[in-house]
Symmetry: D2
Subunit: 353 residues, 4 copies
């Protein structure tokens, strides 16, 4: 078989581990593997290169993607052609390459495009990629553990400053819609307050917690997801977020919260926007193993001819689901999730009034 | 309620996170918490101290256990009394303290003792602690991810030397009976060969792989569990291992393998025994979250009066099992486990002839 | 002797290592040591505690300061008394405590106050603390290596994203007046462009470099100090910086540069403001050794009665200089410093037109 | 000019940073650069490749050497030709390549060979490479900081186990003749006892310290260089070390010390041999900067025609010394070095009776 691989959407630690695993698993079975450059843009612009053992040697621990990626390249609505549908061109290129299948590694958007490509006749297999851990039907995705580790390490650092100065320190994490990173990162970093998009927060409640800590002689560590919003009055911030071209905005919700809190507490309040460092760099060992499992599972789906499916982790089992079931859905932290209870049990305020 | 906590057996990253979570969860419900020092030795020697908020502040990310631990203290066979049964004395002390329950955090041995203590009338709840990830009925334990991370980072380091010199580098990991650490650590570190206790290895096969790599211009990275053994002839090593008082032996199976390989390959062979650094130090964020979940779950079992049970992770769910079902069993890597297939699919030799 | 220690100004990795070293070195000689809490605030508010072996055990690798610190507490101009001079009160407290000497660990501001305290009759010894590495007569200060390490690691992470997406990534570091952190961090992180306060930069030159990289198929990594400013037109930014109450501002020079660059380059431009994580967390081993040397040297100055002096590193030698020579001066990166040449030699643009 | 680069001897973090800096600095001046593979072996076996911008892109943070290295390849005594002198052959190859100069990066042995090659007419410049920090006339070498960081991190990990179990933990570091790694690593890791080759130690004194710590309720952390030896009776160990083919021996001086200590102390004694992980992996930011400075300085020596010289750091200045002055000398920790005093001042036992 001749199988192509591409990576779409934002980069994520572990992408290279998936590329390596898919490639090695297929090469071992005598297949031919081609890497498409910069996501679907490479299919449009006809940029591909062979992937052999040498090409994937030593990339397991490397962050990013050796194939490059692109946030916006959609063959059905190509920005380079005034939004025109260039999918026929993509299919022609796939035909010229002689592709038997495409492994598309990406998020929600990539899966939607992959699904449509599949319907045009190029058999596809999907691998979920989401730093936010919010792809439907997939319990845990590679890259997420790495992002949580960055957040936890940052909180460890901020905690020493908070303690030394008796401050309120706010760390704003990724997570526009789903709060997984802030939740696990905050728990791992010992945050006093964790604020998620799934639960509108009360500024009064957060301020009350800061003051209680002050009275106990302590500092306060707040971990807030970029998509978190105050109950009621914070529409302005939410608006700003929705309108912003870039999730790493100037003066996000963390800074907004700082402005709200400062007049209500005695200690100084400071904010750190963790930003892009959350998605770059070498994957944690956990993510390397998970990404390798996903890559091998994708190769297996290809070999078994089970197309139109996306690899997924359910519990501790690596399985697959129809790509069609994934597109357009977000996996938020459900209200009854164990970690809400765990956080509250160890005294974390989740911002409820 | 008045609840005691103890940590038994070897230390493990995440113990403090469990202690903290149990303590905070119980304090929040108005309970009283006492820490027993140095495992069951503290119950024998009557050493305990109160655990309040201050006592557990800032310990989430600390390695080891603030309560101390002991490898060999068994009230039913006390080394300090020529092997006598001093359990009555322990129960008397528990009575004097006015304990309503005991949370015992430990491995197989700790669970066996906890089970017997429970039969004597002190209600117990267990929390599994195993750096080797080999406690029955528990899919993943805190500390394991941290150990895997140490192994993977060591392999990353050894790989640069292997490549620069064109060497065969052997890294010997923990894992006397179960190969989980070598398996996940080896996968995460990109090992070419992974040798586990569950699968006797062929020195010829390993040497063949090294020579094949040499011919391809490459080096070879071998990750071997301390309990791995060659098929057939290596009884001497196995004997040495079984007789050794300390799992971190001089000249373990890694060095034995080096001696066997050196005459059969062209490149230099070097061995590193990773040793105690695998079990010390700050837990990974993953382990901090898992340990916190386990601690909260243990507190909940106590509050629900579900005694005689051990917290366990099954799939992604935190549940519990009878302690009696755990004692005396080991969770080895099963022959049909997904990771065998994954490792082979990406070209790892598992040492089969 | 009875010696007091205090830490003033912003926190910095290695403060605890200094406190530990001063304390251990004095205790070993039979002296008595007292820790003043929260910098000079503790002398004003009469908050002190004894420092013995137990108090400094295990703090070597801890970030921050166990004594706490305060940015603004000045006995000669006390914010808590409408700017009044409360130094007499401080001297009275020192008398009551029976202090023979004070070791003041801090930056420029702390040294100025310490100098005046010394003139009032309390013998003082200074230890330079500056994350920015900009204290006069001191070649290298503890905490600086740790900050550089944070910057370099962040650049490593951002580089993977930059490469994967073909982006221009800007990282804004600390350094209002002196560019040491951006310079060494940028060199260590492989930045293509490094912009320092000491050298007004040309936006055109930076844009030209980005475009050259684009044409070579590459991405661009820019490391900019918060105090850097464009030659000529950027007065607004400089003004904003000077007026800002907090060095970690919203929309600093990094974001300003992003806005200037975006219209002039083809690829996407993104900015990360590294913020407070640069000053928190465990010190690097280098900083732990340096801080220990400084602490021992301070204790020695006290024992030798060489008061009014500040410990300083010159070349590789730990020596001392009069505190009076330090106050009110900044050690900028001199125009003829070797690292300018080194950076240019490896192709880094320093922003010159 | 046409300049060749080679790396000789054991690998060391920062080699790639030197290769990159030499290459970039020379390319920028219009020179041609060639990499010789596997040290002097490449000159013998005629293996070279061009070094351009692409070849050195992204290698700054990579451990090891992209050129490969060899421990034993000496053109004046070639193991591949029964010890024959093949230097004429090497000079012929250099002539064919049209080399104007050779930059040799390596230790004592590499400098000796480079010196002789220079005398045969190929102009050479040396760059000191020593993980042990023991090259004469050079205050600090790249790779050393990285090794110290590995040791300090290992001690941090071992300390948690030592505390949890109340144990004596011994960590054996690199350093056959010079104790720099054990000294700085031990200081940074908070060791209670540091034993160097430069100072024969008394087992009685070490045991006394362990017992004193036991009585104070504490554990003991010992950091011992592989070349350390007991005063008087330990000749056997020293002999073993001298005869061993590999510095990472089975049962080195750490294990010997364990055997001596165990009968004399109450707590368990455990040893970890840190081994090859000390020399592999990504260089610390400090080492990346230092290696870059060394590389640029080497390129400058070449351009200035100052041959026969080795780059050297003296104080904080990057200068150079005649290669002839370096060969055959070792830079041990001098008896009056500041760090002896610093260590003793903070209560570290250096093993004196």
């Amino acid at each position: 078989m001749h199988v192509a691989i591409l990576t779409g959407g934002g980069d994520c630690p572990g992408l290279n581990a998936v590329i390596r695993a898919v490639t090695l698993a297929l090469l071992q079975q005598g297949d031919r593997v081609t890497g498409i450059e910069r996501g679907f843009l490479g299919l449009i612009e006809r940029r591909a290169r062979p992937l052999d053992h040498a090409a994937v040697a030593g990339i397991l621990a490397e962050g990013g993607t050796i194939l490059g990626t692109h946030n916006k390249a959609d063959p059905f609505h190509y920005f380079g052609a005034a939004g025109a549908d260039v999918s026929a061109q993509v299919m022609a290129y796939a035909g010229e390459l002689g592709l038997d299948a495409l492994v598309a590694i990406g998020g929600d958007g990539t899966m939607s495009i992959a699904h449509r490509i599949g319907q045009l006749g190029l058999p596809v297999v999907g691998v979920p990629k989401t730093i936010d851990n919010d792809i439907a039907h997939n319990d845990r995705s590679f890259g997420f553990d790495s992002a949580v580790a960055v957040v936890a390490e940052a909180l460890d650092r901020l905690a020493t400053t908070a303690r030394s100065h008796g401050r309120v320190m706010i760390a704003e994490t990724m997570g526009r819609y789903a709060g997984w990173i802030a939740l696990e990162g905050g728990l791992a970093g010992g945050a006093d307050v964790i604020l998620l998009p799934e639960q509108p927060f009360s500024v009064d409640a957060v301020a009350a917690r800061c003051r209680a800590n002050e009275q106990g002689g302590g500092c306060t560590l707040i971990c807030i997801a970029e998509g978190a919003a105050a109950a009621g009055g914070s529409l302005t911030v939410q608006q700003t977020i929705a309108d912003s071209p870039d999730p790493i905005r100037l003066g996000g919700v963390g800074h907004w919260l700082q402005q709200q809190l400062q007049p209500r507490v005695a200690s100084e309040v400071r904010t750190t926007l963790l930003g892009h460092v959350q998605r770059g760099g070498t994957p944690t060992p956990f993510d390397r193993v998970l990404a390798t499992r996903f890559g091998v599972a994708a190769a297996q789906l290809v070999k078994e001819g089970r197309f139109g499916r996306m690899v997924a982790l359910q519990g501790s089992e690596c399985t697959s689901v129809p790509i069609a079931d994934v597109a357009g859905r977000n996996r938020l932290v459900p209200p009854d999730h164990e970690l809400w209870r765990v956080a509250r049990a160890v005294g974390v305020s989740m911002g409820e009034a």
